[in-house]
């Protein structure tokens, strides 16, 4: 078709870099730390100097820099460093998996509410209210009571945590999006609801969801430690950061390293993720244009 005006310009793509800003140091440090922690989680078995359950009764409550135990030992003489490494793996696994479950489940529910509206929506909102109004203590207890405390179950339980927030966010954004051009346009092209939600709406709201996930992740780690405090968290002989904290609290004065080692890890890790999340949100605030 030669009757078209050929518009020759090369401006396309030049806009990308105009908003280039240096990444703050805290964010880089956070990122490095997260990478480090994930590395530990992945290589736990390789780098842990001892089996995390291995006892060393004669050397119980050894303080850090002990010749055989760099970070000291706990009340059963188990190597804190090894336990910490395995705990990181478990805690990261729990938090990551639970965050994903929470986000997926919540988003699906949110989409369902946005799509069907009416009774379905009210029902989902009621479930969300229920989740918010139900003390998590009871929920954890029920799972522990009915299904035991296998790790997958515990992860599933933690995955319930916070799904209602995703549901609300996803619902709100999906309703807004379907009222808006691009989703309406896709529908108008003949796309099925599934196509509209998965191909268009989900990618468009994913940034918000990812930021929410950076909030959920630390919350789950903290939640797990609170549950451990109440004896409902990850259960022995399995270990986790929260579990170490929970059992270490009685030794706070006698052998503070038992509690402070995992506490420091929790704080630095959640701090890193939160800082990263805040930064992401600030970036995304500025929008895509």
């Amino acid at each position: 078709m030669n009757m078209m005006e050929k518009v020759s310009e090369t401006a396309a793509g030049t806009r990308k870099n105009t908003e280039h800003q240096p990444i703050p140091f805290t964010v880089i440090a956070s990122l490095l730390w997260i990478v480090f922690v994930i590395g530990i989680a992945l290589l736990a078995d390789q780098i842990a100097p001892y089996r995390y359950t291995a006892l060393d009764l004669p050397n119980r409550l050894a303080s850090p820099f002990h010749p055989q135990h760099l970070l000291g030992t706990d009340e059963l003489g188990r190597d804190i460093l090894s336990r910490l490494i395995v705990s990181v793996r478990i805690s990261v696994l729990v938090a990551l998996a639970a965050t994903l479950i929470s986000a997926c489940f919540g988003t699906t529910m949110g989409f369902a509410a946005a799509h069907f509206r009416g009774r379905v929506e009210q029902f989902i909102l009621m479930l969300a209210d229920f989740q918010a109004a139900m003390p998590f203590l009871i929920l954890s207890l029920s799972v522990l009571a009915f299904f035991g405390n296998a790790l997958p179950l515990f992860i599933g339980l933690m995955g319930l945590y916070g799904w209602e927030r995703y549901a609300r966010i996803a619902r709100g954004l999906a309703i807004a999006a379907s009222a808006q051009g691009y989703a309406g346009a896709a529908r108008q092209l003949g796309a099925s609801p599934m196509q509209v939600y998965l191909r268009h709406i989900l990618p468009n709201i994913s940034s918000t969801l990812i930021v929410s996930m950076t909030l959920t992740f630390p919350e789950i780690i903290l939640m797990e430690s609170s549950l451990s405090f109440l004896g409902l968290g990850v259960q022995p002989p399995m270990t986790s950061l929260g579990n170490m904290l929970g059992y270490g609290r009685e030794y706070m004065t006698r052998a503070p390293w038992i509690m402070f080692a995992p506490a420091a890890l929790i704080v630095t890790t959640t701090l890193s993720i939160s800082l990263l999340g805040d930064w992401l949100r600030d970036r995304l605030d500025k929008g895509l244009q």
């Binding site: 078709m1 009757m3 078209m4 005006e5 050929k6 518009v7 090369t10 401006a11 396309a12 793509g13 030049t14 806009r15 990308k16 808006q180 051009g181 691009y182 309406g184 346009a185 896709a186 529908r187 108008q188 092209l189 003949g190 796309a191 099925s192 609801p193 196509q195 191909r199 268009h200 990618p203 468009n204 895509l288 244009q289």
Partner: protein
């Protein structure tokens, strides 16, 4: 005469809204007894004040929304109900272009992906064929391969609107409803898009329902036009006739209000008052509160259409020369 591709018969659509926080439900008659027909390969412009029901009419014409009463015929058959598989298949034949191209595009997908999307949705051809077809379509609207891989925000407004156009046309629809496709664009970009549209129409024998409030553009693109006021059509006929010698007092005001570059001293009809509230539609002729030539009967009686010798129809008591005909535009 060419056959009509789209017929609206006595379409009405009302929404119920509430007035204020604890107010009562009030029906808003967005579209009231509108009948229109669009001929194959032609452009029909729909103009009128904001809120007069243009977009609603456009959506009903496409079957995106159901009228409360009246019916829509597309090539003589009624449209299937929305969101059914039949309705989705129908999308291949009728498409829509919106005012804001950026909003209509998914910000996260490349242009080529989006232009190809209708083919994906309706599962036409193999993957590579689809891509080639999409590229060809982009070329047809004047976008090149480097635009194809761009994201929407990397394009200018005109390019975006052309991308939207390419997406709408890739299924080779017979009918295109354009809802203010150029009013958000710069004059120069607007010119590009108007040119592309008109060229494509010629090439593909597209039928256009062109919604706009810019009479300059309407003049440029359409053969016939309908003027809407408060959900009803008040004047309907050949575009050049309506613009050069508007008959209905509202059309007159509209035409006189068009700002023309380089013209400083000119009689503009400044309408008194406010565009009326569709929820509180005035009695009789809806335009009477703002009409300079309103007569007592305008307050009471709703005017019917009269057809003038030049073929246009007007709904105004002041131009009651011929016996009224209900059916217009056929």
């Amino acid at each position: 005469m060419t056959a009509s591709i789209l017929d609206l018969h006595g379409i009405s659509r009302s929404y119920s809204t509430r007035q204020g926080l604890f107010g009562k439900k009030v029906p808003v008659h967005a579209v009231d007894e509108v009948s229109l027909s669009l001929k194959e390969g032609q452009t029909l412009a729909l103009v009128g004040e904001s809120g007069s029901g243009k977009s609603t009419t456009g959506r009903i014409a496409l079957g995106l929304e159901r009228p409360n009463s009246g019916y829509v015929l597309f090539r003589g058959t009624e449209l299937p109900a929305a969101d059914t598989p039949a309705w989705r298949r129908m999308r291949a034949q009728m498409q829509m272009i919106y005012q804001d191209p950026l909003a209509a595009l998914d910000r996260r997908l490349s242009i080529i992906d989006q232009v190809r999307e209708p083919l994906d949705i309706h599962d036409i051809g193999s993957a590579s064929k689809r891509n080639n077809k999409a590229l060809a379509m982009l070329d047809a609207v004047g976008l090149n391969a480097s635009h194809a891989t761009s994201l929407p925000y990397q394009l200018s407004g005109g390019q975006r609107q052309r991308a939207v156009l390419a997406r709408a046309l890739i299924m080779q629809p017979a009918l295109l409803v354009c809802d203010e496709p150029v009013s958000a664009l710069d004059v120069s970009i607007q010119a590009q898009v108007v040119n592309v549209l008109m060229d494509l129409q010629k090439e593909l024998r597209l039928s256009l329902l062109f919604i706009s409030h810019d009479l300059k553009v309407v003049r440029q693109v359409s053969q016939r036009m309908a003027v809407m006021y408060l959900g009803r059509i008040v004047e309907f006929g050949e575009t050049h006739l309506l613009l050069s010698s508007p008959t209905h007092p509202y059309t007159k005001a509209l035409v006189s209000a068009v700002p023309v570059a380089g013209r400083r001293t000119r009689e503009r009809i400044i309408l008194k008052g406010e565009p009326p509230n569709p929820a509180a539609r005035p009695t009789g002729c809806a335009f009477h509160p703002r009409c300079a030539i309103a007569r007592p009967e305008c307050v009471r009686v709703s005017p019917t259409f009269s057809t003038l010798p030049d073929g246009r129809s007007v709904a105004c008591h002041a131009v009651h020369t011929n016996p009224p005909t209900k059916e217009v535009g056929s």
